[in-house]
Structure formats: structure tokens, C-alpha cells
Amino acid sequence: MGGMDDSPAVEVHRLSRAYGATWALRGIDLNLRRGQTLVLLGPNGAGKTTLLKVIATLLSPTGGGGKVLGYDLTREQEAIRSRIGVLGHSTYLYGDLTARENLRFVAAMRGRPCTDGTLAEVLERMDLGACADQRVRTFSSGMKRRLALARLLLDQPALLLLDEPYTNLDQRTMKLFNGFLQEFRQRGGTAIIATHHLSGGFAVADRVAMLKGGRLVFEEARGEMSLQELHEHYTLHVEGEGA
């Protein structure tokens, strides 16, 4: 999982993305080393989702560019896609297929068809062993989220892009998610977590960044910062006027 070289996991320069007449992202400069977790804070509409989508190669930049895991954003998209994992608002699951079939489909499409044993194992780890052969349509949102996590366990990405992972999680799923993230970070994976939950993101952050109106208004290592200080920074840069 992931290369062992020293190139940054994500480096973007003057990244911009427009939607018709407005800018969703303006002049974003970001440099994230491998193995670090960046927490992206900001209110709704600040551009967090857009930034994640651009890094995931789902959206092409209107201006600027960069590299993800050493591969160019606009020219080497396939290489990027085979190394990243995305967990967002949507689960990308087919309601009429079973949990097992959904996983098998993605594994096959990613060029890594896996054995029944491996499938059973990841489903078990996400507490879905009992419903492996039920249609996803019958799943609760927590179960769907866990299935998405199981899919990530199969993919073993080097970079994880998480969009609001803390919203609407039941206890069981939250525990499994935290365990998954901890293990991922321990193995040296890089992650970018977009959230508007300061406390949730704070616990796992190596670096903290804040977006406001499509611009990056704050970006620092977490270091010795306390949660209180984080709140202060947030109030200053995002909720106050300026920038």
C-alpha cells in the first residue's frame, strides 16, 4: 500500500475550480506529506467537497494543477484512481445486489478479483458477516457505511479521501470506523478528512486546514494546539470577516 518514496502524497498549486460564473475553489496551495492526516474544516459551501473531488480526479481543475501520490492530476488520472479510496455522502452501492456481490464487482473492476475467503473476512471485520447475502437495499445507512468501509479494506488505498465521515453514524459503525482509520494511519496511509465537526476531526489530525469561500485561509500542523485554540482559530479565520 503506497509507495515508499518521499514525494508528497498531495501537492497542488494554485488549484481552482469554477462552476459557470462562480469560483468554488480559488488558488489552493497544498502540500501534504505521506502518512499524515489532514483535517479540512469549513462551513457548508466552502468548497471542501469540491476540493476532495478534484483530488479524486472526479472534477478537473479550471486552473492550476498538481500531483497526487506523485501522479499528475490531469494526465495520469488512472494511476491516481487505482491508489485512492473515497468515502463520501454517497455509498456507490447497488441496492439490488447483495453485499458480497457489490464487493465482488468493485474488486473485479479494479483488476483484483478476490477469493470468497477474502470477501468473507472483510465483511466479518465490518460486522456484516450475517447479512453478506442480503440485498443492500435492505441495509440501514450504518450498514451501508460499513460496507463502504469493507470495500476500502479490499482496495487498500494509499490515500483516503473522507467527506463528512462522522455524520449520521450509529455507535457500532462509529467504533468500526475509528478502528479502521487508526489501523490505516498506523500503516502509514495518508488521509484527508473534510468535516464541519471540529472535535471529531481534531482527534485524528496531524495538520489542520480551513476553507472559506473556496479559499484556503488557514493551514498548519496541529502540533500542540488544544481544541480550544482550534475553535479560536476557526472563529477568527472562518467566521470573522476578512480573507
Binding site: 462552476y19 459557470g20 460564473a21 469560483w23
Partner: protein, 225 residues
């Protein structure tokens, strides 16, 4: 291509060529021995048809270039060419109809060439509608480029299929809007008309592309602010 002086020069050349073409076609060339004066509409119909297909060929080439290279200029030319092309296509059909009524007694024949031109008109309209319906300009450009490629490659197939279909339902007739043989002075007038219409096309195209560029610039400026 859209520099002010180029457009003005094109405009002047077009005027001159059109004047020459009109004179040669409507006054100088002898009337057709069978069809009389009505046949003069050929000097309008044939060049318009030529431009209609030329414009679509330009749409085709620019669509491929846009897909391959992504430069907005290619998309601008494609869009402009489609807008100019649709006018000439409509003109072709109109002229064909006007020619047909007194000559063969019908406003419309399902002749392969005329039918294919009518289908071309439908494809053009589809192209323009697609662009206007898609709000995001870049996405509209991508979709239209695909339609431009598919549509152009389809035209010869449409023509062939209509031709074969026609021979099943009607014996091969002399109802060919191209006329039988074209005498030498008529040929000269025709060629001048074709050249004039081509210049007209280029002139309109350059004006349209210029407008597109201005619009794009305004959009950029609004965004910056």
C-alpha cells in the same frame, strides 16, 4: 482569424465575390434550355448546399480537435460553424423547394440528396439544442463535440440508405436538382457563386467566433470579480 482587419477584409472580399456571382448567375449566364429562368436558382441552391456540408465538416474537424486537445478555440469555431451552417442548410432546402415547384410540380421530393440535407438540418438543430439545454458551457461543448463527430460520420450512411430505399419505391428518375449537363458559361457562374458563398461563410464564421471570444472574456472577467 478574428482580428479586426481580417474580418473587414473578408467582408469586403465577400461583397465583391457575391456581387460578381449574382451578376454572372442572374444576368450573364444563359438560361437553361429546358427549365428557363427558374433554373437560375441553381446558383443559390448549389453553393448553399456546398457551404452547408462544408460547415458541418468544420464542425466535425473542430469536434475531434476539441476532444483531442481541449482548447476552447476549437469549441468556439465548432459552435459558430454550426450556427452558420444551419442557416445555409435551411437556405438550401428552401431554394430546392422553390426550384422544384415550377420545374417538377412538387414542393418536395424524397430524393436522396434533398432528404439527406433535410436530415442534416435536423442534426444541426439537435446540435444547437443540445448546447442551449446544457447549462454548463464546458459540458455542453463536450457533448456537442461527440454529436458533431457521430452526426458527420452518419451522413454518408444516411445518404446511401435513403438512396437505396428510394430505388425501391421509385424508378430512377431524372429529377435530380443538379440538372443534366452544365454548359461552360453556367459552370463559370456556378464556380464563382460557390467561391462567393464560401467567402460569405468564412466571413460570418469569423464574426461569430469573435463574438464567442468576447462572451468568454466577459465571463472570465465576471468570475474574477
Amino acid at each position: 482569424m478574428t482580428a479586426g482587419w481580417v474580418r473587414s477584409l473578408l467582408g469586403i472580399l465577400t461583397l465583391v465575390a457575391l456581387a460578381a456571382g449574382l451578376y454572372l448567375g442572374l444576368v450573364w449566364a444563359p438560361p437553361d434550355s429546358y427549365q428557363g429562368q427558374v433554373q437560375r436558382i441553381m446558383y443559390l441552391h448549389v453553393p448553399a448546399a456546398w457551404v452547408a456540408y462544408l460547415a458541418f465538416f468544420v464542425v466535425f474537424c473542430c469536434s475531434i480537435l476539441y476532444i483531442w486537445r481541449g482548447r476552447p478555440a476549437f469549441d468556439q469555431v465548432a459552435y459558430a460553424s454550426a450556427e452558420v451552417g444551419v442557416i445555409f442548410t435551411a437556405l438550401t432546402i428552401l431554394a430546392g423547394s422553390i426550384w422544384g415547384k415550377p420545374t417538377w410540380g412538387v414542393w418536395w421530393t424524397w430524393d436522396a440528396r434533398l432528404t439527406t440535407t433535410a436530415v442534416l438540418l435536423l442534426i444541426y438543430i439537435g446540435y444547437l439544442m443540445l448546447r442551449s439545454f446544457v447549462e454548463d458551457r464546458a459540458r455542453g461543448a463536450r457533448y456537442a463535440a461527440v454529436l458533431g463527430i457521430v452526426g458527420f460520420l452518419d451522413i454518408p450512411l444516411i445518404h446511401k440508405s435513403v438512396e437505396w430505399w428510394r430505388t425501391l419505391h421509385q424508378p430512377a428518375s431524372v429529377m435530380r436538382p443538379g440538372g443534366s449537363t452544365v454548359a461552360a458559361p453556367m459552370l463559370l457562374a456556378l464556380l464563382v457563386s460557390v467561391a462567393a458563398f464560401t467567402l460569405l461563410y468564412l466571413y460570418l464564421l469569423s464574426q461569430r467566433v469573435h463574438l464567442e471570444r468576447l462572451e468568454a472574456e466577459i465571463l472570465e472577467r465576471n468570475r474574477e470579480g
